[in-house]
């Protein structure tokens, strides 16, 4: 039982007074229709907002990221100022009363190690190594990676293929093994550690940056700039990079955490920072054999690594959310 077909629409009318005319605005036809809820005026009065300012505001709201940031600041302050306030000398046994393998106490909050050194001071000083390696290694990765990524993304073609194939080769290597092999060649030391980690890190940076550039390159304003006669270099620096930078900032922050863990792992295996320089990883290596007798040796350096890396991870997460232009509030 279907309806019979009919032509749509109102019966024909040329009647200027018809309701249809009302909508057309016929002879008498100004609209009386009610209020105009036009919101537009509001928009003109909003305060000026930039991308970075915006991001900073959003970041401030992210409690976890702020906790991360605060913790990092605490660690940095503590470790840089360590010379002034750390009571015990970390490199040699303490002067009078400390024996070896003492359990945590008021005097030694984290206990002492086998040769009587105060674990707490060693952990604090160890932060220097970890933070320095983290920042420097990521710095090296960024320098190499950004350059390679920029060349690859902007010029494309053969350059792109070469760079990406090289990156593939690096990716094919198991990370830890490659690092060990590199350090075997370079010789284990504090400097070589962050060089090795830095070298291993560039392909990821290059890849991220390259895809940023590729997506930005498609945008019209690059064509507009070129039409105005801007040189390649100018285009890269003034137009592409600022926009491609955001993912790099996020990636860089989170990589610092990764670099810290890498340094710890390498030092744990004996290929990193050498004694007597305190490194959290090396401390854990010593602690392994003494696990039964002195659990504090295992717990505290590892905990230091965990909290520091976690702080960077949370900050990285927060930065990612804050810089994500698609998530408007």
């Amino acid at each position: 039982m279907s309806a019979r077909r009919r032509k749509p629409g109102f019966p024909p009318d040329a009647d200027p007074d018809s309701p249809k005319a009302a909508y057309r605005g016929g002879p008498d036809g100004e609209q009386t229709g009610g209020s105009s809820d036009y919101v537009g005026d509001d928009l003109a009065n909003r305060p000026e907002r930039t991308l970075w300012g915006d991001a900073w505001i959003r970041l401030r709201k992210n409690k976890l990221a702020i906790i991360g940031l605060v913790w990092i600041l605490i660690v940095v302050t503590l470790t840089l100022s360590a010379d002034f306030w750390v009571p015990q000398n970390f490199a040699s046994p303490t002067s009078t009363d400390a024996g070896s393998l003492e359990a945590p106490s008021a005097v030694h909050p984290f206990g002492t190690d086998r040769i009587g050194r105060d674990v707490f001071s060693r952990v604090v000083y160890g932060a220097r190594v970890s933070l320095a390696v983290g920042v420097l290694a990521v710095g090296i990765s960024l320098v190499i990676g950004l350059l390679m990524g920029a060349l690859s993304g902007y010029y494309g073609g053969l350059v792109d293929t070469l760079v990406m194939r090289t990156a593939d080769i690096f990716f094919a290597f198991p990370y830890t093994l490659f690092a060990i092999a590199l350090l075997a060649v370079l010789g284990p030391s504090y400097h070589n550690v962050f060089i090795a980690i830095g070298i291993l890190g560039w392909p990821s940076v290059a890849r991220v940056f390259r895809s940023s550039i590729l997506s930005v390159k498609e945008n019209e304003y690059v064509d507009a700039a070129r039409a105005m006669g801007a040189s390649d270099q100018r285009i890269i620096f003034r137009h592409i990079m600022p926009n491609a930078v955001a993912p790099i900032i996020v990636y860089g922050t989170m990589s610092i955490g990764g670099a810290i863990i890498a340094e710890a792992a390498l030092s744990f295996l004996g290929m990193g920072v050498q004694p007597p320089t305190p490194s959290w990883g090396a401390m854990l290596s010593e602690a392994k054999a003494l696990m039964v007798a002195a659990p504090w040796l295992t717990i505290w350096p590892g905990f230091a690594i965990l909290t520091t890396v976690l702080a960077f991870v949370l900050m990285g997460d927060g930065l990612r959310d804050a810089l994500d232009v698609k998530m408007k509030d």
């Binding site: 279907s2 009919r6 109102f10 018809s18 036809g29 009610g34 105009s36």
Partner: protein, 337 residues
Amino acid sequence: MALLEVTNLKTHFTTRDGVVRAVDGVTFEVKEGHTLAIVGESGSGKSVTALSLMRLIPDPPGKIVDGRITFRGESVLGMNDSAVRSMRGDRIAMIFQDSMTSLNPVFRVGYQIGEALRIHKGMTRKEAHARAVEMLDLVGIPNPAQRARDYPHQFSGGMRQRAMIAMALACDPDILIADEPTTALDVTIQAQILELMIELQQRQGTAIIMITHDLGVVADMANDVMVMYAGKQVEYGKADEVFYRPLHPYTWGLLASLPRHDVDEKGTLLPIEGQPPSLIDVPPGCAFHPRCPYAQERCKREIPELREAAPAHLTACHFAGQAGFGQGAAGKGEGVA
């Protein structure tokens, strides 16, 4: 008694910004084998009405807060979960606007069509598959045996929609709810799909609830028409009545904004001024008053009741049916003679 009776249905959603009164008191019925068209702009509440009939409203945040739905004399709102599930797909079925996203990409089409058969009719895989092939044939898909083994992305848009129809009608339901089934399709395909639906309705005697914003679609198919605005019902009656003797200013607007090929005037499209209102912050009084060329003081204060302004023709407007309303009184608000 009609096949489906809905009385004063209200479905509200509780959100962070307030309560969204998506459906705020609609009353209608669907007779056996008839077609009801529910018409309105986006956000008018038509889809939510349909989902409410199947009790597919996600809770939270949504809830049917008032009203009665009676299907074959049985209260739908009072059914337990198991009864609702056995009703869905078997006695009331639904098809959706976007056939690409509404079909599961990792299951074969024949499988998805046969799913309802396996659940409701207890068929085995083989039986269900065979019947699925029959259904595909019925909806006009060439090479149905082959097609049943294909995946949704291998179908073209029009064919996918046919497959959805096949899926919905597999268990021979009493009511088919079609939510904007042709909106996403090319104009030529649209016509084909509508033809198909009419043909199947005649063959199987299925009642259809057709949800659309397009009055042209409705014109060919509907026995009854219900016009919705801002969650409320503004006009309801037989299709001829609503088309040729519309009573509500909103309906006038809808009809006036139809593209017409037989009009010899300049024929500019006249969209109704303004935007549909927020369903959280519904305008006081008649929800349509901000956009209505005939709005008076009373319209801003008093919510118009749905009343029978002409025989078997209901509308919710204070002035509907009054002599001379809508003729020449445009814009002056001098009272309607």
